[in-house]
């Protein structure tokens, strides 16, 4: 008689644990969706553990937003197709032709940080600043300029072309200091077309719904 009770107890424990975890996760999910958006697929989870729920429609919709930001001058200007960064709202070649260099930080007397200070320099048309100002390195150029939405989407999730980043690292990259600098561009420069919060939400949504590439 004791035996079945014992067995029952043993089985009950995980069931209870699952039930409690399930309730908690549901509650967190409801809270998170309330914070962000009515569309559950566009919701960034509160926890850093991201579940992949493949949903091509939501994914492509999110990527449209992501692409708009990445192709804006604040992002694309430092992801050029050549070895000279771009400048301005029209993404012209950077005056004085500074070059990428092997580490992306310039060459000889033309290192990025020779002009780009740790913070923005005050005034119009002065160098924007960041302690880590650089282009992608020569062996991992991560070009945005000229990429179609499909090409860029495929490149972004390919570790051989995205700086060896898995999904976790890609999500974390949304909060990289130099990425954030796009939203603090210095006087006279336009902001990216989405707020950083909206961009991050679209970015995470795209990645966690399957990172589909548009046709």
């Amino acid at each position: 008689m004791n035996r079945p009770m014992k067995e029952g107890t043993n089985y009950d424990l995980p069931i209870r644990a699952f039930a409690v975890t399930g309730i908690l996760l549901t509650a967190i999910g409801i809270m998170a969706s309330g914070l962000h958006s009515s569309d559950k697929n566009e919701t960034a989870p509160a926890s850093p553990v991201y579940e992949i729920k493949r949903d091509s429609i939501t994914s492509l919709k999110a990527f449209k937003q992501v692409y708009k930001v990445l192709m804006s001058p604040r992002c694309m200007n430092c992801h050029p197709s050549g070895d000279i960064p771009l400048q301005g709202e029209d993404s012209h070649l950077h005056t004085m032709s500074p070059q990428r260099g092997s580490d992306g930080k310039g060459v000889y007397a033309m290192k990025c940080s020779n002009c780009h200070q740790p913070t923005n320099t005050p005034g119009l048309h002065t160098p924007p600043g960041n302690p880590n100002w650089h282009l992608p390195p020569a062996d991992m150029k991560m070009v945005f300029q000229g990429r179609t939405p499909r090409q860029l989407a495929e490149q972004l999730i390919d570790p051989k072309r995205n700086g060896n980043k898995d999904i976790k690292k890609l999500i974390a990259h949304a909060d990289d200091g130099l990425v954030l600098a796009a939203w603090n561009p210095g006087e006279g420069r336009n902001l990216p077309p989405l707020s950083h919060a909206d961009f991050k939400r679209a970015w995470i949504t795209w990645l966690t719904t399957g990172a589909y590439a548009p046709k």
Binding site: M96, P98, Y108, A109, M110, K111, N114, C115, T121, T126
Partner: protein, 157 residues
């Protein structure tokens, strides 16, 4: 008070930490070899070495230089005999001369990192130093000569 080391001498600077390093060098320390050109890091006249890098002192704040090693044109060599200075003299590079302390400081960084620069290397290194007199051909020639002098001397300043 901000402590910087300039041309080997430690200096205590009583100034706003946001003051451009160029003002500190010229107005507070009286080292006027470094020139003011554009004030927005576009011309290269104000180049000095900050821990060996050719920074533009007009946009570099004093706070960035705190505790760091600064070298100006006055401190590039003891007897104005850095290979770049010797070559500049030999080739009579300057016309008005205003941009040349910046040019020389940039060229010195190039030669420290590349003892045998090609014309493409010279262009890449010097593209940020503007000369309104257009002495670019002589600058290039002098850098080639300086490289030769440096190799002969076996120095790597």
């Amino acid at each position: 008070m901000t402590t910087i080391t300039i041309n080997g001498n430690q200096q205590q600077i009583d100034a706003d930490p946001n003051m451009p390093l160029l003002w500190v060098i010229r107005d507070l320390l009286g080292l006027t070899g470094t020139k003011y050109g554009c004030g927005v890091a576009q011309c290269g006249a104000c180049v000095v070495h900050l821990n060996g890098d050719a920074v533009r002192s007009c946009v570099t704040r004093l706070s960035r230089a705190e505790g760091q090693q600064i070298v100006t044109i006055e401190g590039l060599s003891k007897n104005n005999d850095h290979p770049v200075q010797l070559a500049w003299n030999e080739e009579s590079v300057p016309q008005c001369g205003y941009c040349h302390s910046g040019q020389i400081m940039s060229a010195a960084v190039l030669l420290r990192e590349n003892s045998n620069p090609s014309d493409a290397d010279i262009d890449a290194a010097m593209a940020g130093n503007i000369c309104r007199c257009g002495t670019y051909q002589r600058i290039r020639k002098a850098i080639r000569l300086a490289a030769e002098l440096q190799r002969k001397e076996g120095t790597n300043k």
